[in-house]
C-alpha cells in the first residue's frame, strides 16, 4: 500500500468503526501489509528531527555494523497506521494515546514488507473513562520480529 492510497480523513469511515463496546479482548484485528520505503523512513526522521546518518547516508550506513541504511527503532509510529485499515477502531477520532511500551529486536530496512499482528488484550473502565490495552507485533518479509509493543488508549465515549 502506498501513501497515496491512505485515507487521511479519520472522520470518513467513522460509522463503520466499532466502538469500545464492540471490542473483544483477544480477537485479532485485520491489518494490511505495508512496504516501507526509504522515502517514508526519512520523512518520519525529519518529522522528529532525527537526521542520523544511519538513516540518510548510504555510504556511512554500509560501513557501519548495520551494513546498510536502516529505520530508527521508533518507526513503528508510522507502521502502526500504515498497517491499519481505514475502518479500524484504532482510527476513531478522539482516541487518546495514554502510553505505550515497545521492545526492539532488529531494525526495519528500506524495502521491507511489513506485516502487523494485532489485537486488543483488555478493556476496562477507570474514572469514568473507557480504556483498551492493545498488542502489536511487526514482522518483516522473513517473518522476523522487528518490534513489538503494547499500548493503552482511552476511547471516545
Amino acid at each position: 500500500m502506498g501513501s497515496a492510497e491512505f485515507e487521511t480523513d479519520f472522520w470518513k469511515d467513522e460509522q463503520l468503526r466499532r466502538v469500545w463496546d464492540d471490542i473483544i479482548p483477544g480477537q485479532p484485528r485485520k491489518t494490511l501489509p505495508y512496504t516501507l520505503t526509504l522515502d517514508a523512513i526519512q520523512k518520519y526522521c525529519r518529522a522528529v528531527g532525527d537526521l542520523h546518518p544511519l538513516y540518510f547516508d548510504a555510504a556511512y550506513a554500509e560501513a557501519s555494523p548495520y551494513k546498510g541504511l536502516i529505520a530508527p527503532p521508533a518507526i513503528h509510529i508510522l507502521l502502526m497506521f500504515a498497517c491499519t485499515p481505514a475502518d479500524d477502531w484504532m482510527r476513531s477520532p478522539g482516541t487518546i494515546n495514554a502510553g505505550q511500551s515497545w521492545s526492539y529486536n532488529m531494525p526495519a530496512r528500506p524495502g521491507d514488507v511489513i506485516r502487523l499482528e494485532a489485537r486488543a488484550l483488555d478493556k476496562f473502565i477507570r474514572k469514568d473513562r473507557l480504556f483498551v490495552i492493545h498488542d502489536n507485533v511487526f514482522f518483516n518479509q522473513n517473518d522476523e520480529v522487528i518490534c513489538s509493543g503494547r499500548g493503552q488508549t482511552i476511547r471516545p465515549a
Binding site: Y44, D50, W102, S103
Partner: protein, 146 residues
Amino acid sequence: MSSAYDNIEPGLRIEGTPFAPTRESIREFCEASLDFNPLHLDDEYMKGSFGKTRFGGIIMHGMNNFGVINKMLTDWLYPQGGIHRRLETRWKAPVRPGDTITPTAVVTARKVTKRSRFATLDVAVRNQRGELVASGEAMVEFPLSA
C-alpha cells in the same frame, strides 16, 4: 582495555536535543506517521471537552515525544555499539504548538545476563516551564562484542 559498558554507571545523565513543535511540525508529523486524528489538526474539535479532557486546541502527538526520546537514546548508543531494546512511556501533560520539550535520561541500573549486558534508565521529557510532559523507562543492551 575498558569497554563502553564499563562507563555506564547508575546516575549517569543523558540530555537529548530540544524539540519545538509548531502547527506546521504537527502537520508534518501527521503526514509522516499517518496519524490524522483531529486531536492534532482540528482546533474547533479540540475546543470542546471530550473524554473528560479539555485541551483547548490542537496538541502534539504523544508519539512525537516517543520519537524524541528514541533519538536521544540512539544518539547516545550508536557511537558506543549499544542497542536500544525497550522504551515505555506515559504522557503526563499535553504539548502545544509553541512549547519546547527536552528529553533527559538517567541510568538507574546495570545488569549482566547470561549472554549480554544491559542497563536501565529513567526517562523524562519536560517543557520550557520545567513541567513534566512524559516519563518512562528504557532498557539498552551492550552486546559482549561491543
